[in-house]
Symmetry: C2
Subunit: 323 residues, 2 copies
Amino acid sequence: MTPANTVLAISGGVGGAKLALGLERVLPAGELAVLVNTGDDFTHLGLRICPDLDTLLYTLGGVVHTGQGWGRADESFCFMDELRRQGGPDWFLLGDRDLVLHVERTRRLAAGERLTALTAEFAQRFGVRSRLLPMSDSPVATLLDTDAGELEFQHYFVRLRCTPAVRALRFAGAAQARPTEELLNVLHSKALQAVILCPSNPYLSIDPILAIPGLSAALRASQVPIIAVSPLIGGRAVKGPTAKIMQELGVQASPASIAAHYAGLIDGLVIDHADATDARGLSVPVVCTDTLMSTLADRERVASIAVEFAATLRARAVIRSRA
Amino acid sequence: MTPANTVLAISGGVGGAKLALGLERVLPAGELAVLVNTGDDFTHLGLRICPDLDTLLYTLGGVVHTGQGWGRADESFCFMDELRRQGGPDWFLLGDRDLVLHVERTRRLAAGERLTALTAEFAQRFGVRSRLLPMSDSPVATLLDTDAGELEFQHYFVRLRCTPAVRALRFAGAAQARPTEELLNVLHSKALQAVILCPSNPYLSIDPILAIPGLSAALRASQVPIIAVSPLIGGRAVKGPTAKIMQELGVQASPASIAAHYAGLIDGLVIDHADATDARGLSVPVVCTDTLMSTLADRERVASIAVEFAATLRARAVIRSRA
């Protein structure tokens, strides 16, 4: 019998996957479910690509390129090399092995299969012990209003390396998207004990998830503690444009801003020691620790702290009245 | 200005491509057009694959794996290796570099582009000096009625290695398919001097082409000599199941059978010395030579003989009244 999921992690790509791996390792086998952002998904060369799902798949499947945090360690780029030689677009790196998933996903989605079912099959194929759940089976696209015009996510993130200044974001398709039955079952399950927002970019990776009305409502209605791990360390992001975007949106890159961003949703916030002085007077309970996850031991430690924090809040029945 | 096409070769895959390469090398640059079978085309892993067109592209583009006669010399198989590891179908070999064409073709055909236009672009990209013309822009599928049931071409040819006995063939979609404007222009051009049926399998590679009514009619109406190079050497095929299929269909594997198969279409037949004794009393003029094309010099020699044979027939105004 499959164990029930006791923890639901909510994740974007690289940073989220690190904490998800830590959670998987500190929890009993099969108890972790990961709700993954699909706002980054796009169609490139006619192939449907789900970067965050694949990062989780490769990370939890033990084949990730640990140095870069995404893609596979055992990868080659002959397809890419030939594509470039023939004058094709080479700004989005597609490994020869990575392509297997994109080709199969494209075909099967076109044949009417659900992304959730496909993802479960891929996870099994890679020996992933946790449950990977896309935020929706309907396409949602994160679009950025920037000083270089409106950009699709991957064009902003990969092609332009986050250089344009962000003025606003929207999530095309989110209002019409529905949470999957699988996700709602996890959220409604009596076994669930905690929801943990991974230290992913709140604007780029978590907001697309919260933009799905039914999913946001189900999270807010949940009776288990929801805690977030701040993506900031000393007011800066470990990786990616979190702090840059906060600045561009006129928000201070501080724990207070993260807490305010998630106000009405979270019951606690894990922050880094480096931000401890900025954390006074926050509206939610805070735990300070070293949140940098360089090693596997770091990931397990941060994961344990998050799980214990949630357990403490749960024991104290500290669940905010959520907006 | 592009030179007008003076010779139209009609070709399947490997064997046809060898003669096409010879023809390209003995004719002035740009004078060769190659009409290519697309009855072998199929959709695999959601990708649209055109094996004969690609064999011509790689052969005339100088990147073919000369040992096997198809695929690329500078190829790697990491995608295939991973596909196999994940339990995917591995019976049809797809190289990492080869995939670039399949992915792009699939996307652009789905977007409504014509196979003929795409093929011309690919040919230019590979520096092919001759013109590559698919037999139609509409899909036609060669289906084999065998003792193992009805089989799609690639399943018969590659997956089952031509093992099942063939009872009949049909070309799904051929009756509805139309010859392209580009092909008709070549056939109607005053510059055209000869049509040469390459030593491809008459049943598998040439018949799908002749099964397109408008194309067959245009060929038969042509006022230039049409000659065929027999695929048999001493009653056997150099490669592939030609002789095996002839036997299964109750036809003797001889030049007479090839001439009878193309009766009403061809004006002359090039056969191998080894079949000379079987060639007496044929209904069309015959030229005997060594038709085995092992070396580049062989290909040029057979090509020259075919071109000269056609020129002789043309000079003597020997054009059969065609059925």
